[in-house]
Symmetry: C2
Subunit: 354 residues, 2 copies
DNA sequence: ATGGGTTACTAAACCGCTATAGTCAGCAGG
DNA sequence: CCTGCTGACTATAGCGGTTTAGTAACCCAT
């Protein structure tokens, strides 16, 4: 009807483009582009003039136009792939995301997030993101043995940083890794020192790398430290599975004096089972959990946990990915923040049994 | 050196474009575009041929190109703005995100996520997203009284759906709302029926709309149902604040026989305080929590909660936003999924006090 | 046979930005 | 005076789609 630019009250204003800046500065759009991207081809005075106009006009690059003209999508991708139920309860993801965001503030880079329901689903997402030019790189969590996701990411050449439990092989995408075996050793040595010789383990999904590492660490420890008994039971990280596994462990003829849980949900579910079965914590049994969250501190007795700085982990992973985007070669893997033991009320010296 | 297309082993393959499809089908790129977008202008046979080639080639639209020409960014935005600590523990956000993702599967629309540290921060994000054409619309949560975010979103004309506690005023962006006053009434009537006449309330931040509604509902109920005593204490949703508020309530000369918590973190923290102060749940005091999460079910005693389908909420909010994107007018607000009371072990008839 | 209306397509402009090739003035060197 | 070079720009060709304005072929009615 009327010129939308001048119609008062129209909802959406027109966005500022470099053409507007060019017009106002009396130069070509190329000059504006050079100035805004810190490239040679404009005099210092002109550059400053252009920058100040851009600032005045609150100009922001049209991310699609940038992405289209070759360079960057200006976005990182993260796919969450865990049972929906688990997702919400664990603080791991939100902490990780908070950390990523810290790394991203200041840069004009955003984050794309998706929830996948299977590995195949996740792979499809990576493919879509890649062919759709939606993200410049992705963060992959929970690496598996012979992870098909990494093969795909390798083949399409989508820059990746893995958050995992050991350095990635040379010539593959870098990993930010946490030493799960070492952390498990820390817990086991502590329990051993408290006199525990029968140790149960309510583990995560068997195909996750860090599950394997923890299970292995327990087996090895049982061997070298002459435990009387030890057992790892895999779960899907759900509360129900955690409760069931705990019931199984507590129903042994001679029950364990300590149980290690692979995350807080399993641990809290297990704690509920101890109450249900009349086993006192920590008098009759000691509980330790991986993945320290607020929940672990809030339940009674508060849980002894392996604390790790997940926010810092996310931040460092994102920074590593940003660096990888700017690098022609593969960057080396890095060791992530250490896991430390936060001792609370759920662990104690083993009682002299009658 | 050599043609990257034919060089074996090069990491990144070339992306498929509609030009490839057009060449293979022997038609123009326009015809391909028509076919892929279900627009008239191509015969059914040609359309089918084009579609099958696109499928074979695993073509995906270049989101940036689409965004640039078609004016759609192909992405929704969500800004999380709560204390970092809270973020992780509450399942609300992850559930909401899961729901949004459900609504988004199938569409070729993605989700942009950011964490903000203040309202101003959040507003800046919306501005950036809008001028950078990064998102087509946003989901706004936790509306406040006289919310400045909504003013900004209104003025820049960025399509919005609010997740709130009452319908939005006409001619503003639609709200998907949960009836907090009604839900609070449900809890209060139940507690009243159990004989409770002294009811405490550990609330959320005072400037959130739903906090105000709940506080108001309690006051009104206290008046009409002749409670002997009632009090709402605001918190910042943190566990520490929840514990402190609970201590305050339990330190009354004559303490409440029931406490309502505005979310599970507060409730679990409060439950810890009852243990610490030797107040038995539910014998001495009944606890009810809003925002049912796994945590509420896992602690002992399991918490009676107001259960709501947060995943469904996210899904419906996203669908409403998608519909709003396609609509010229403002869509009407909708009532969200109902809140229902899940009674567990933390509530009981009030004991006859001596 | 002519005009008018479909139908099925193609050509080309355009979205905002980047990047390459040109243009032009000014200056140095032979 | 002509050539060559440099610095500061401009013109313009994409990037991969969408969309508008043709256009040619065909059918039907007059």
């Amino acid at each position: 009807m009327t010129d939308p630019d001048t119609t008062p009250g129209t909802a959406a204003g027109r966005r500022i483009t470099i053409t507007d800046i060019a017009a106002r500065a009396g130069v070509s759009t190329s000059a504006v582009s050079f100035a805004l991207n810190d490239k040679p081809g404009v005099s210092p005075e002109t550059r400053e003039r252009i920058l100040s106009i851009a600032r005045d006009l609150r100009w922001r690059p049209h991310s699609a136009a940038r992405a289209l003209s070759g360079s960057r999508a200006g976005s990182l991708g993260l796919v969450l792939n865990r049972p929906a139920r688990t997702l919400g309860t664990e603080s791991f993801f939100s902490d990780l995301i908070s950390g990523i965001q810290i790394a991203l503030t200041g840069t004009h880079i955003g984050m794309n997030l998706t929830v996948a329901r299977s590995v195949q689903d996740e792979i499809d997402t990576y493919r879509d993101w890649w062919s759709g030019h939606r993200v410049d790189g992705v963060l992959v969590i929970d690496p598996r043995t012979d992870d098909p996701r990494l093969d795909v990411l390798e083949s399409i050449g989508l820059p990746t940083v893995v958050v995992g439990s050991h350095p990635s092989p040379p010539n593959s995408w870098p990993t930010l890794w946490l030493d799960d075996a070492d952390a498990t050793g820390t817990v086991l040595r502590y329990l051993h020192a408290l006199g525990h010789r029968r140790i149960g383990h309510v583990a995560g999904p068997a195909d996750l790398e860090h599950t394997a590492l923890r299970v292995e660490a327990l087996q090895e420890f049982a061997h070298t430290a002459d435990l009387q008994w030890s057992q790892s039971l895999p779960t899907d990280y759900s509360a129900d599975a955690g409760a069931a596994a705990t019931r199984t462990l507590l129903s042994q003829r001679e029950r364990p004096s300590a149980i290690i849980f692979d995350n807080d949900i399993l641990a809290v579910a297990g704690l509920g089972v101890t109450a249900e079965m009349g086993v006192a914590v920590p008098r009759d049994i000691s509980l330790v959990s991986f993945d320290d969250s607020t929940m672990a501190q809030l339940v009674r007795p508060a849980l002894t946990t392996l604390t790790r700085d997940t926010v810092g982990l996310g931040e460092r992973a994102a920074r590593l990915l940003l660096a990888q985007l700017d690098s022609a070669e593969r960057l080396p893997s890095q060791a992530g923040p250490p896991l430390t033991l936060s001792v609370r009320a759920s662990t104690a010296r083993v009682a002299h049994s009658g």
